[in-house]
Symmetry: D2
């Protein structure tokens, strides 16, 4: 399926370091199933939705719009890790209820972030997949608790996480009992501030060779600019990513957070159409 014949087997030292996430020579890619969405196969998974579950009730409208455009997973945050305590922190338990409602209405499985090890049980009761956010990638108690839950996990890279640290974080989840883990590149912090972060596709391509886990890409956080998202979605698909995580909002100007980087439904639909063509060009589907 991959157009690249080469597969770099782990070096022996790597196999010691990453016994559960590293890819041995000849090892098959792992498939991670979340409802009808399957990460790591020929068909890419597109998770889309607003940054935060919002009180306005716009969640249902966005969820229906992304489903109709081809998304197979709904993303939205009930617990938001914000830089400042004086910013909107998410709707919490109320947000979880709204997420459950959106899932029932659209049939889309839901991925949402959990921030606190004490909330894992409550979030796992609603979510189909638990997201570890960028700021939590080295939050060891949380990694372990999420691993113990047995739920599929979406592990985002931190803004300054090396490949070694990221795979080691995956080992925390997997050694605590987790089996189904997907890595998500979302941009790293560099000297360049013309864009919010720097999307690191080098690492996506490298990881496809060094781990058997699925690897997806979040271009929205990686660039922070709705005008750049579609082109970066295409690039991620061409590079061999197993899926996309895209921020979409029915009315980006009204979004409570990250409106600048959210696509509206029409732009998302156009982006998906373009990605479908690119996926076909590299032997994949969306």
């Amino acid at each position: 399926m991959s157009p690249d014949p080469q597969l770099k087997p782990l070096r022996p030292a790597d196999a010691d370091r990453y016994p559960r996430s590293g890819r041995a020579a000849g090892q098959e890619a792992t498939l991670v199933r979340v409802g009808a969405a399957v990460f790591g196969g020929q068909r890419l998974v597109v998770a889309a939705g607003p940054c935060a579950v919002e009180p306005s009730g716009s969640l249902l409208a966005t969820a229906a719009a992304v489903r109709d455009a081809g998304a197979t997973l709904l993303r939205a945050g009930a617990y938001k890790p914000r830089t400042s305590p004086y910013d909107f922190q998410g709707l919490g338990r109320e947000g979880l209820a709204l997420l459950a409602e959106a899932r029932d209405a659209t049939g889309l499985p839901v991925v949402t972030e959990v921030l606190d090890p004490r909330d894992v049980e409550a979030v796992a009761a609603v979510a189909d997949m638990l997201q570890i956010g960028s700021r939590s990638v080295q939050n060891v108690p949380l990694l372990r608790e999420v691993g113990r839950s047995g739920k599929p996990v979406l592990l985002k890279r931190g803004m300054m996480t090396t490949v070694h640290e990221w795979l080691s974080a995956a080992e925390y989840v997997l050694s605590a009992g987790g089996r189904d883990l997907v890595l998500c590149e979302r941009g790293i912090r560099t000297f360049e501030d013309a864009t919010r972060n720097t999307l690191d596709l080098n690492t996506v391509v490298l990881l496809k060779q060094r781990t058997h886990l699925p690897v997806i890409v979040d271009p929205s956080h990686a660039c922070g600019d709705a005008n750049l998202v579609a082109a970066l979605c295409r690039a991620a698909v061409a590079a061999g990513a197993d899926g996309l995580l895209v921020e979409v909002h029915v009315d980006p100007l009204l979004a409570l957070s990250d409106g600048d980087q959210s696509l509206d439904p029409a732009a998302f639909r156009a982006a998906m159409t373009a990605c479908r063509a690119v996926a076909a060009a590299v032997g994949r589907e969306i």
Copy 2:
């Protein structure tokens, strides 16, 4: 006391962003008391000790050695946030008991890291000051729980934390009820890998102007090399830091973690002697 007459008042926007940590024009520096150690006054606080509480019983010997060399606070980790789950993770509860024993034997108050919001109560029962480690600087549930505990807090900067993010993290602690908070610069991650991290004294000097909170420096983690620690201690004192956090081990070659950057007691004594002279040169004492 400071040789720099200028004090930059916060701009109005800063005052909104950092209502509890920002320094208003003319505002006095805050003193943070931890037992007999007082951060922010004319006398600098030196916290020293091993990276981790070790099972070997070497803690008592190190604690006595650092006290005799002039340290006024004992540092050692019972809970260690390690990159890989397959590395030594600290002694946990047993380590807390060893810390209590070392405090009783030496009279030094104790600062130690807490990683999990569910452990705050147990750690606070033993520690005189709670440390938020670099990996936890944006761990919101932990920041809040530590704030609620009412204990003095040592908030280390993360490897990738901007000044804005760091002061915002302090706001999480302070807005949750914390009153006594000390900031600790410990090196940032940069392109330069000739040393473990890059000590950022620019930020220490800037923060002394923009916040009323004490700011101390950890040169051990900032450079990762025992041969560089003494000179960086002197530089931090000359720059106006309110204290130092130094890794010392009675036998660095036997340390379970961070041995490369730990001073032995003789090197620590020599470093303290040199720092005393520099402190006097800038109107401070150690």
Copy 3:
């Protein structure tokens, strides 16, 4: 031609800063012609060849191989800017003669680096396009001399060059008389060292909106690993780059420099085939 309908006009301040390189609202993309190769049109330009012109005579074999695989420009360095004076520095004038011979034999126009303003005349006498290398992007006397030569210019981004600095460097060339300039992203230096540099496609997409100049991508230097180059070529094409710069060597194991990142002719052919499919998917050709 572009699948992205949005074109961000320059803000007025940008128009002052980049009067010659900035893209005004509605401004057409500029075409840069180098022999039969045209940068900025529907057909992408692929420049390929060895890192350095080598004494072995392998240049002719590589040049024929890349031409046969679809490259339309030959790249190779006669003057090599090496980190250490004790490494191979290129063949200089002798290398220029070998380049002229390769052009005559293959019909491919030649792009090669000039390092010293005193060499511009000699290099321009042979090269069809002058390359300003990463280390020279802020070498003002060189930028000006190259601009004065009237030759087409390939301006590589430095490892630490911001978008602002890069467009400003272009202004030095253009304000000195240069008219035909192509920008080349080649990876930036970040904290991540699992790959040699970090390919920054964010900036490629951003520049396609903010400048009328063609923008191409050099994945070979951006990753430093032949196993990653093909996937990054595909990503660059999908993102909208106007061309590629790829290191190819008939026998990478024998290359005098950069062998680790050089494709052999078979791998290059495979990469081109895959890129052609991706180009078609985004409405372009190779």
Copy 4:
């Protein structure tokens, strides 16, 4: 003289890489003499002056002021490497004449930047020491030409230069015939933008162990903020730097470039007084 007894001998591989700049075990520090100023001895060298030689005639007033405050070298740029071609580029030859006049009037030797290998002879005819600026640290033709001139050289670190690249750049100068070379740390580019750059004292301390060459510090460019310069000067002295490079202007508000980071004469005098006390505390003099 140094308060640090340890001296790290070069490893064998380093000795191959840096045969002229590396410090062998037991090797003495090299002294670099520029007029009455001697770099590398017990007495620190303070080079001070405006960023640029300005047409206003303020150079003489600034030169006299820095001499009276204890500077032993005058710094000012006749050739300014500016990011944009539309900014003030320095007075060139006219600036060199003004520098010669200032030297005659004050008796201070002069260090000034040379940007173009074709200008080395003209600049060397006036300057007592040639500065290679940050943007030129890997400009090989310039490094070689400056080395051939036989003049003492001040080699500034680039904003993203590693220790390896910096020492390798020194090798270009030294292998071309240069004998007297001083390294100058001036801040590196990092993710932190609360200050202009990040002063890297780790590297200063490391280099004092790994090279026999003198190492000085430029806090003005490293922070970009006059309010921080004095404290960073003290830190550099305490860390063991062999000297300082400080931007001073008789009227910073009128400076044509870098006014924000320039000290006025009174602030410079106060900084020098404080540095003298710190120097004495570490067994040095200013």
